[in-house]
Symmetry: C2
Subunit: 280 residues, 2 copies
Amino acid sequence: MTIENLSVNKSFGGWHKQYSHQSKTLNCTMRFAIYLPPHISNGSNVPVLYWLSGLTCTDENFMHKAGAQRIAAELGIAIVAPDTSPRGDDVADDEGYDLGKGAGFYVNATQAPWERHYQMYDYVVNELPQLVEATFPVSDKRAIAGHSMGGHGALTIAMRNPERYTSVSAFSPISNPLNCPWGEKAFSAYLGKDRATWREYDASELMRAATQFVPALVDQGASDDFLTEQLKPEALQSAAHASGYPLALNLYEGYDHSYYFISSFIEGHLRFHAEYLSKV
Amino acid sequence: MTIENLSVNKSFGGWHKQYSHQSKTLNCTMRFAIYLPPHISNGSNVPVLYWLSGLTCTDENFMHKAGAQRIAAELGIAIVAPDTSPRGDDVADDEGYDLGKGAGFYVNATQAPWERHYQMYDYVVNELPQLVEATFPVSDKRAIAGHSMGGHGALTIAMRNPERYTSVSAFSPISNPLNCPWGEKAFSAYLGKDRATWREYDASELMRAATQFVPALVDQGASDDFLTEQLKPEALQSAAHASGYPLALNLYEGYDHSYYFISSFIEGHLRFHAEYLSKV
């Protein structure tokens, strides 16, 4: 696994770095970012929070705007931010911002023309952690979080792999993609018309059926323009009640879908994950 | 003075807002951003920190990337971020990133074709504060800060108007534009060939000659690619020694010219300003 360093910036005593590598899972060159806290200087292996971004984002949005490095530097947590889809001139795309590049939805596509590259579920669950754990001074303790499409990704990945993640959190997740326009468009394209195959990528369906639990925190802005039509946190809440899932869901008055919301509450997410990451 | 609200985002209990207005000083439509802390909800008039950004920036860079809202919300300080130049199709421009749009250098241009619009010094010192103080629940207590070109702007504006600002701070300022390529290019264009007219816009010259003092804080990254050729903090340090200017200048190992540096140390700048803004 070759990996190329693209940039380094010192940040809160630690280091923000961008890398590119050839992904076997996605059949293309991928970029990701990692924040390494100052703790690595004394030989510590630190746990890792994976952050999955939303539609149209790259590895940069969260690192630029969330203000997470300050708290990660205090708590001794690395943060890895992958891109949101495969990239490259030969990668299938769509004119919409909500399908194709920038919109991988963290699924393994089964349909043409998407299936050759759009295997973001496997990339995030397997290839990227293997690469990160082989390359950087990190432990095998992992948490996962995300925003919007990435909140959907974080919740579904954590619930399908409860042995791999200590905790999961999301801002404004697409909570029930089977029943919203974003989900229906993307899943129809990537997974085909058989809606039975969509269920393993639906956070509310997975939460309703869950028997193994990953502690979960979800924050949602009450003034989010996408709340009613696309995000549907009430489906997640209902599913958690049905299965007894340990979900803390907070609705914050006046906040929208932007990074102004995320930055206001990211500290709580990092402290939530730190509590579980620090358990043996 | 008409002013149009363009956006609102709740942030750390306060509000980030963008506005546009027709500037008489600049003869064009200008956009600026303001962060209003939660304290305004109980009828308080809060003091204002003006933030001047660097080359190529708009009102958005600082608000997106610096992470200042968290501390401003705690301390009860509003932050105003103007654009870095006049804007519009009829505004003179240059192919370079370091002259024309995005590169106003906070001076009053005297030379064609710049002088009709490029009056950023007057805009920041007079028109913008008048508009802000007439529109928002703010007091007439002002501090000023900036980055790179905006650090130059903040230092020169504070030193030429010590009665208007309680304190000044800068990240990585262009400290001696008379003697660096960025300054020589911009001042030749905006101010003409007579270098005597440049001196009133040179922070080191002003600091060396100062008899009235505004407490000043300057932070500089030691791994900043522009340090030696463009920024020259040693000129500012030397000037402060000569006049006895109250300048605290810090050099931070490993940090570069980016917002990763600014976000790492912005808390100290806000607490520095709060100390002076809270004095009667």
